[in-house]
């Protein structure tokens, strides 16, 4: 699965990671809905780390598109309200 971190890079991840990513996505939606900024920050950082650390960076000239596009790492809590709602970034 190819995941993009907006304004950063594209990464290729295994399907196991996709599941973990989905869990985090749902947890973030809950945190945002509850207005819990600290939890949101912690989970969002975990989500980004998962992609950065366990994913492989896609070559610059690879023209494949991403299945999942994560918001930019400097996303504010207010902006998170627009991104992480309903099913989150990844539909269940």
């Amino acid at each position: 699965m190819i995941v993009r971190i907006s304004t950063e890079d594209q990464f290729e991840l295994s399907d196991d990671h996709a599941e973990r990513l989905n869990e985090l996505d749902n947890a973030i939606v809950d945190a945002v809905a509850a207005g819990n900024e600290d939890t949101f920050k912690k989970l969002f950082d975990e989500m980004l780390s998962l992609v950065r650390d366990d994913g492989t960076v896609l070559a610059d000239d690879d023209l494949r598109d991403s299945e999942v596009i994560l918001p930019p790492p400097d996303l504010s809590f207010a902006e998170a309200g627009e991104e992480f709602q309903g099913d989150g970034l990844i539909p269940d």
């Binding site: 993009r4 907006s6 304004t7 950063e8 890079d9 996709a18 599941e19 989905n22 070559a59 610059d60 000239d61 690879d62 023209l63 494949r64 598109d65 991403s66 299945e67 999942v68 596009i69 994560l70 918001p71 930019p72 400097d74 627009e82 991104e83 992480f84 309903g86 099913d87 989150g88 970034l89 990844i90 539909p91 269940d92």
Partner: protein
């Protein structure tokens, strides 16, 4: 877990399909996409140049403020050793303000450096994708029938379109941040224009409007502390003390000589 939702992805997909819908003929679509890509690449280069300009401007301001801090410190010492406590206090208040502005500016210069670095990365990536697209474009035009070409174009354009949308987003965020910084830089310039960091001896001792505002802006506790410290240093001046005290003693000596 199929497909993506989220506002970010929706916006990007919409942009790509808009780009693809522009032309009926596959060859035209290819050329149009390629044109758009090159235009965007130029914009990214301009965007990076803007960030560099903003950074240089802030660095220049920062240098000026550093000079003001040194100047105001010297003036405070001069005033104190001449027994003009009020003038010394006014100079220290201004120095404190200049220092806090300086901290803010330095932080912003760092942020801009970070933005410059990441935009440069974005530009490099987009350039590589455009180059890959250009190669693919020629292959598609040479080897595929119109119907087949449409699918291949769609694939290639989606990949590069996603990168384009992402670079666009990175630029927008950089512009927003730079605008905030510009507002701050202007505020510092206003203070400069009002003579806040100017030579105090030309303004007279702390009784003008700027000084009244400064009293409100700076915490007098910190100014009191610095006054006390300076007084102690001046009191023990001339003697051979630690390097921390030596510098001001020298500054005072120089002042005496220049009089």
């Amino acid at each position: 877990m199929a497909g993506i939702s989220g506002r970010m992805s929706t916006v990007i997909k919409a942009k790509i399909s808009k780009m693809l819908d522009r032309a009926e003929d596959p060859g035209e679509t290819l050329e149009y996409s390629y044109q758009k890509q090159i235009e965007l690449l130029q914009n990214v280069k301009k965007g990076i140049a803007d960030v560099v300009t903003s950074k240089k401007r802030l660095q220049l301001q920062s240098q000026k403020l550093e000079q003001s801090v040194v100047k105001l410190d010297t003036q405070a010492r001069q005033a104190l050793s001449a027994g003009n406590e009020e003038l010394a206090r006014a100079a220290l208040e201004r120095k404190q303000l200049a220092q806090s502005e300086l901290q803010g500016l330095d932080q912003q210069v760092k942020e801009l450096e970070g933005q410059q670095a990441s935009l440069t990365e974005n530009e490099k990536r987009l350039r590589a994708k455009i180059e890959a697209f250009r190669t693919k474009k020629e292959v598609i035009k040479a080897q595929y029938s119109a119907a087949e070409a449409q699918v291949k174009i769609s694939e290639a354009a989606t990949g590069v379109g996603e990168e384009m949308a992402d670079v666009g987003l990175a630029m927008q965020r950089a512009v927003d941040k730079t605008e905030n910084m510009r507002a701050r830089a202007s505020a510092v310039e206003e203070l400069e224009k009002a003579g806040t960091f100017e030579d105090l001896t030309q303004l007279g001792s702390g009784s003008d409007d700027i000084d009244r505002q400064l009293h409100e802006l700076t915490s007098s506790g910190a100014v009191d502390d610095e006054m006390a410290k300076m007084r102690a240093e001046l009191g023990s001046g001339g003697a051979d003390k630690t390097p921390a005290i030596e510098a001001p003693a020298e500054a005072t000596a120089e002042t005496e000589e220049s009089r």
